[in-house]
C-alpha cells in the first residue's frame, strides 16, 4: 500500500480539502438532523399510543412486545446518529504528534486498575502521526476492551513499531484476558447495537474500523484464544510534510 500523507487540516495549508470537509460536515449535519427528527417522531407516536391506549397495551402482551421492540430499535438508531454526529459532523483537526503521546492519553483515560500490569513499548525516534480526538478514542476503546477482559487482573502490552516497507506505524494491543470464542470473533466488526455503554463512550469496534479506514489506516484482530487473551493490530499512515 503506498504511503499516504495526511496533511494538516489548516485551511491555509490545504484550502480545497478544508472546504470539502466543511461541506461534508454540513451535509452530515443535515442528515443527522433529518434522521433525529424522523426517529424522534416514531418514538413520540409510540409514547402517545402507550398513553392513550394504556388499557389495551396492558391487556395485549403481543402489542406491548411489538411497541417495546419499536422503541428499542428507535433508541439504537438515535444512539448511532449521536455517535455519527460526534465523530464526523465537525471538520476533524489534528496536529502531528507522537503515537506515544496519544497512547499515554488513552491509557490515562481508561484508568487501568493496579491489578493490571501495563507495558508500553515504544521505540525512540518514531515518526509522528496526525493526532485527533477520534484516534485517541480508538486507542482508549481498545484499552477499555482489554481491561474489561481482565476483571481479575492481568497484563496489557502495547507495542509500537514502524513498518518500513509500507510506511506505516503499527500499534499492537495484547492482553491476557478471557479471550473470545469464534462466534464472537466472527461478528467483531459488526455495527455495535447496544444500549449498554462501555465506560461512558459507547464506541464499537465497527466504528473504530470505519474511522481508521477513512484516514488510510486499519485495525485487525491478530489472534484471540479463550482463556489466553487477545491481540489487535492498528496500523496508521505516517505524517509527512
Amino acid at each position: 500500500m503506498p504511503a499516504r500523507t495526511v496533511p494538516s487540516h489548516e485551511p491555509e495549508n490545504d484550502p480545497k480539502r478544508y472546504r470539502m470537509e466543511t461541506s461534508l460536515s454540513l451535509l452530515i449535519g443535515r442528515y443527522v438532523h433529518s434522521l433525529n427528527g424522523l426517529i424522534g417522531f416514531i418514538r413520540a407516536e409510540v409514547k402517545i399510543l402507550r398513553m392513550e391506549r394504556s388499557e389495551l397495551v396492558k391487556q395485549d402482551s403481543a402489542l406491548a412486545g411489538t411497541l417495546a421492540k419499536i422503541e428499542d430499535t428507535a433508541a439504537q438508531v438515535l444512539s448511532l446518529t449521536d455517535e455519527f454526529k460526534l465523530s464526523f459532523a465537525s471538520p476533524e483537526t489534528g496536529e502531528p504528534v507522537s503515537v506515544k503521546t496519544l497512547l499515554t492519553q488513552a491509557l490515562y483515560d481508561s484508568a487501568p486498575p493496579e491489578s493490571v500490569t501495563v507495558v508500553l513499548d515504544v521505540g525512540e525516534g518514531l515518526p509522528d502521526v496526525i493526532g485527533t480526538k477520534n484516534l485517541v478514542d480508538v486507542f482508549r476503546n481498545l484499552c477499555t476492551n482489554a481491561l474489561e477482559a481482565m476483571p481479575d487482573g492481568g497484563k496489557l502490552e502495547i507495542s509500537v513499531k514502524v513498518n518500513q516497507g509500507e510506511d506505516r506505524v503499527e500499534v499492537s494491543f495484547t492482553d491476557t484476558g478471557r479471550g473470545m470464542p469464534s462466534h464472537v470473533v466472527d461478528s467483531l466488526f459488526q455495527p455495535y447495537f447496544s444500549t449498554k455503554r462501555q465506560k461512558g463512550h459507547g464506541l464499537g469496534l465497527w466504528w473504530s474500523k470505519a474511522y481508521l479506514e477513512s484516514i488510510g489506516g486499519n485495525i485487525e484482530l491478530l489472534w484471540s484464544e479463550v482463556g489466553k487473551g487477545t491481540s489487535f493490530l492498528v496500523s496508521l499512515p505516517l505524517f509527512s510534510k
Binding site: R30, H33, N36, G40, F41, A44, K47, I48
Partner: protein, 130 residues
Amino acid sequence: MKNPSVLIVDDEDRWRDLLEKLLCRAGYDCRTAGSSQEAIEMLTVGSYKVAIVDIRLTDAFNVNDVGGIDIVNWLRCTRAETKAILVTAYPAPEVIRDAFRSGGVVDFFFKGNIDPGEFVSCVGKILKCS
C-alpha cells in the same frame, strides 16, 4: 373558560400535526405555521401566549427564510409577552445557550427523545403562569 393560545412553528408537517394533536387533546387552542415568514405574519396579527419554535427552519437553499432563533429574537423585541419553547432535532449547545441568554426562551425539547406528557405539562405550566 377561554383557552389560551399556542402557535406551533415547524417546517415539517408531521411535527406540526403531532404537537398540535398533543396540545389540542389537552384542551389548548393551537395554530400552526410552516415557515418563519408565515409565523411572523401570524404573530403580528394574533396574540399567542406560547410559541413552540423549531430551531432549524432555514432551508440552506432558501436564503429568504430565517431560522427559529430569528423568530425568538423578533418575539423578544415585538411580542415580549409571548414565551418561546424551542424544539430541534439537532441540538447545538451554543445555539440553545445563546437563545436562553438572550431572553424569551423558557424551555427546550430535543425531538429525538421528546416525552409527550412532559411537553404538554410544560406548555400547561407556562400558560397557567401567563
